[in-house]
Symmetry: C2
Amino acid sequence: MAKKRTSKLRLIPLGGLGEIGKNMLVVEYGRDTLVIDAGLMFPEEEMLGIDLVLPDYSYLKKNRERVRAIILTHGHEDHVGSLPYILKEVKVPLYGTRLTLGLVRGKLEEYDLTDVDLREISPKNSLQIGQFKLEFIRVCHSIPDGVGLAIHTPVGTIVHSGDFKLDQTPIDGRATQLDKFASLGERGVLALLSDSTNAETPGYIPSERIVGRALVDIFKQAKKRIIVASFASHIHRIQQVANVTFRSKRKLAISGLSMMNNIEIASKLGYLKIPDGLLINIREIDKYPPREVVVMSTGSQGEPLSALSKMASGEHKWIKIVPGDTVILSASPVPGNEKSVAQTIDRFFKRGANVFYETISPVHVSGHAAQEELKLMIGLVKPKYFIPIHGEYRHLKHHTDLAKEMGIPPENILLAENGSIIEFTDSSAQIKERVSVGTILVDGLGVGDIGDIVLRDRLLLSTDGIFIVIVAVSADTGEIVAGPDVVSRGFIYVREAGELIEEAKECVQSILEQCAERGVTDWTVLKTDVRNTLRKFLYDKTQRRPMIMPIIVEV
Amino acid sequence: MAKKRTSKLRLIPLGGLGEIGKNMLVVEYGRDTLVIDAGLMFPEEEMLGIDLVLPDYSYLKKNRERVRAIILTHGHEDHVGSLPYILKEVKVPLYGTRLTLGLVRGKLEEYDLTDVDLREISPKNSLQIGQFKLEFIRVCHSIPDGVGLAIHTPVGTIVHSGDFKLDQTPIDGRATQLDKFASLGERGVLALLSDSTNAETPGYIPSERIVGRALVDIFKQAKKRIIVASFASHIHRIQQVANVTFRSKRKLAISGLSMMNNIEIASKLGYLKIPDGLLINIREIDKYPPREVVVMSTGSQGEPLSALSKMASGEHKWIKIVPGDTVILSASPVPGNEKSVAQTIDRFFKRGANVFYETISPVHVSGHAAQEELKLMIGLVKPKYFIPIHGEYRHLKHHTDLAKEMGIPPENILLAENGSIIEFTDSSAQIKERVSVGTILVDGLGVGDIGDIVLRDRLLLSTDGIFIVIVAVSADTGEIVAGPDVVSRGFIYVREAGELIEEAKECVQSILEQCAERGVTDWTVLKTDVRNTLRKFLYDKTQRRPMIMPIIVEV
């Protein structure tokens, strides 16, 4: 008699669906829970003052005794960035490839997490965790040493693409292991979860090598210094810049702490080979003629405090841009950063630099598979069910369209959201009720303490400022003993608004008198009266709506 | 003996160079000043709470007795939006084509400007204003009835392209008058000022008609309601939607006041022909089967309060999106609006709509000439000097590169900025000193009263909120008679931060005591002490930097 199987396989995405960033997926069977990735996201524009956004990991805290491991597909922030926060609350082993762990180790140390159990995985080995058997599949992406996963469960095999593309001529020669995906497909796959970031992009993503060729052309024409900006973790891009620099008989200086750290780690672990004697210290670049120097820098997103922004605005300590310098933005603006990147480009042009960027030159390629690659993946893996992951809703939606084109029956395509519980039995799959998932906002040292009320106040304050009214009242008699006085910030330029301020004071004075006449002694009533009257007065005069804050001091 | 000519011709761009928006150009010769366009711009992200941005027209106020006219090239906001503000300060006649004046008239009435001297111009007629003779050249753009200008001056002829493209098969059959530009070129042109918006875009902009074809295809597949969003002033787009609606045997409802107004004006003036019986009232759409209705709407930029955003979030009064509805975003996101447009698309997808937008379908074409068109314009006009206008700095820069390719000598290409004084004599042209130009921020009723200080306060307040400390002190003895008390907004969720608040109070108490011991009675010193100590305390505890505001009430 066959062993009775009452347990169901459940997949619960806690982040990364309906958004680009904070990827995290829970895989559960019986008493065993795996977590795939633990990323972060950068705040949306309306999240005023927020530093970072984490996926809601309360589900992990609640079920912490069942969590066996966190598996990392690769070392990007949107896949590993939440680890320092989550590992403080849920102690579990961390599995990742050598480079991924190398990058994560440094990050954990910054947060004083030195006792984390890091376990190296490799595409060559498999792994048993609880009732799950895991295989790792090498995938090519914009950071080396990424993997996809095959998770063999009692209900069937789940294939997770990781972040991938199908560059046939990658810089390190390590292409995506299509043969392994194909072999899994042959053996039978229950469900494929696949990266949707570029599901709207037709065709194929060109090879990373075309960037190298563009760099060669630009370097050839450059008569003075060359600045190349890219992501600190894009080791292959750094490799290409180093190679072209070497062949151009120039020296390479690095600007940006994260890039220096990553270069050190990647070099030590053998993922990056910088020719001997190529690197020079950024402080020494003035010792070299301009045409013998290349600077590689972070800040490709136009971040206001980055090295690149400082160069653009003439505030960089070591690098002054002069007419004839060459600047290459070897990156794409992350959605939301278009304006700051454009501003950085304009500033370099104003300094007389020749600026190259994605719009006008092939100096960047994406790290995520485009439509034809996504279809190829579905064709090889031939899953029974298809679940698009990693993308805003429209990317997931277009990925489901591709899956339909590839012959997956529409009822077997599961368009899930963060918090969806996708439940598999031997014979079915369905999206059940959802676990409650929000987002956890990090502001300074506060993790999750900023909620809607504080953000609404910040929005109000940012729009029209604050208008404070202070009155001191005798505790004995209720009479006004000082004030009303007013102070404002962010509302109006006070020195030029003396009349308005005086009128506002008179307005408050008269409300207080009226309240006294009516015998109102409840301060809440009084404050509401002041607030309402002032709001109307100020709006009539200015059509602005500052936050109005009446303060009554009892003496 | 020839008449002595001491006057110089000067061009002073007051807006639109180094930015997309608020276009305004001053043309001066002797005692005659013309203004070409008077546009506005929407605020940048960092201009917190600001409603509109105007060009700095103080130069016009200062020289008002010389300003003879404002000439409008077309009716877009970035060319006419500042008129209500400028005309309140500088009374001059306004020249524009019939549709342009039609659109402007309504806008001026909103601002109670009913006595403006509006004078109609036409490509068929020329005009003498002071020492300038003006000819108007019909140009094709994303609004009908646009013109370019030839300004004949004693020093030579200035050609201003207006906003143009070279659609050979425009919807109204009125293509850009290349023959007129060519003829001006033959007669000799001193300087060409040309639209740089798309100077980074290779090739040609496709004809507006390809949008019509895409609409036909989408309409054919649509089984339920169709919503088309576009700019309210894009009369040709509205015409195409109306035509396809008519041929699909559907009815057309309009959502959005500005679009309704524009349709009325354009129809009355003969620029739009809506078939009889096609339009229905938006309130009545439920009387028609879904497959017989098309709604045309504003809000293509994802503006939070627009009709389209309300449909996307399920809050529109008359239109509920159901699965199977079709939504077409027939517009491009203006830079900075990418995120809000993407969010709107995602929301429609979540409601089960089929959504079509520029990334995935040819439902929009630009209104601005691309590189080959720009080169053609330079080739026909054959100007001695070339001045790129209308564009961010990188667009101007790339436009100068195109001019070089077209054989304009580099020294004859003038890359000016807002406020540059470009001075022409019979034999030379050069960029002289600049007039001081800033921007004028409009916030509610305030025009120009918000400056850097208020904006910096808003930024501070938006990032970490405000922390107010109140103490009442006896005027006689200097003793504390009430408080310290604290109130905060936008800093921390107070209900969960009781301990921090208590510690902060203690912190203030102890500073006040120390000050009393040290005999400090100067309140400025006291406030500075409180501010500095609290800043450090709060930063240590939270790593946030709220605005700290000590308030001392003397009783």
